[in-house]
Symmetry: C2
Amino acid sequence: MRPAVEQVIQSLRDEILSGAITSGTRLGEAELAGRLSVSRTPVREALSRLAAEGLVELTPHRGARVASWSEEQLREIFELRLRLEPYAVRQAVPRLNAHQLDELDELAEAMIRYRDVGRLVELNRRFHGMFIEAAGSPPLAGALKAVTHAAVVHQNFADYTPDAMHRSLNHHVEMVAAARAGDGDWAEAVMRAHLYNARATMIGGNQ
Amino acid sequence: MRPAVEQVIQSLRDEILSGAITSGTRLGEAELAGRLSVSRTPVREALSRLAAEGLVELTPHRGARVASWSEEQLREIFELRLRLEPYAVRQAVPRLNAHQLDELDELAEAMIRYRDVGRLVELNRRFHGMFIEAAGSPPLAGALKAVTHAAVVHQNFADYTPDAMHRSLNHHVEMVAAARAGDGDWAEAVMRAHLYNARATMIGGNQ
DNA sequence: CTCGCGCCGATTGCATGCAATCCTTGCCCT
DNA sequence: AGGGCAAGGATTGCATGCAATCGGCGCGAG
């Protein structure tokens, strides 16, 4: 059995990313410990690590809250992603093997089929994550993890207009096609368009 | 008195960044707890957070070690910095007030005077940190913290040739001049040159 | 002589207990 | 009646104790 703290992190991450815990809700150590059937010690450590990842905000003596992002912060996050993710895709393309390309295809198609938002977020996370992983740069992956894994996507995925969603899904498919053709320039350009599309929707469509 | 865990984090960070603890040395929980006169619990938490920051590597059941970087990882880190820091400087320039500009001048001049490597690293960290802070983007700051605060700089600062060091120090002065003139383009270009200069030295000059 | 297996010390990981701090609520004073 | 203050409750933060796991070492077999 894996260490308990990892279990707690996994559980909390899943619950946050899937939207089971809404942004801003209070996370008491005792409550979580009881719910997950562990002591407060691993919960403490898990919260600490998640705070460093940016998923929860940790204020001294006031407990932890699920992080939320202002519109301004969303702009900044997309500015960051625009500077890193296209580059990551470009680096990833020549390193993807046939098996990974097939998996990317499956993910892209699965996203077209599924209409459930939570599932969509998870598939999207894995899709982007595969490129980031394949880029083969731990520092790059670390920098992007904080802003990609984040609940950011979920927070505003529901705000996509049908048109924007359609474009987004098509971008995924086109990106895999570009990768399969070994054309890094193409894939990079598609990712850039993908992010601009997402940014425009997010900024325009939320409160 | 501030929470103990913060003290531990501060102490460890200082010791690592100042080079008092060499890269790769083992960090036992009991040893640290005894040395810092606290229990193992805050040490544990501190190590966890520093691991998330990338300063220490934490392997299950094998304790923590001060992180070290291969030449390949250094390349990747500079690739990352090249994509983020010039942008950060550009964003920072219009937001810098007179007081901050004076402080930057002082830092740049202090770096010319001091010849001690440890002191130089600290001043350099504060110099870059001020621009990153002034950029006003928490996500950007978070992404850069992992690769700038890191012992990376110290690990290879000693490898600078006299010429490269001279150029580097001049870059700092020029950057402040550009910032004072309110010319974001200029400052951004200088930062880019600054990083290329550092990268070339690092890659050429170490084992 | 070398390789493999099992035991032992050491370290990590988790649970629980206690003290310090903070938020809340009710009361008193103005 | 409104504001400030103090006491109570609850929660966090830290220390310590115990069990589980890992690395090292010696012994025995091939």
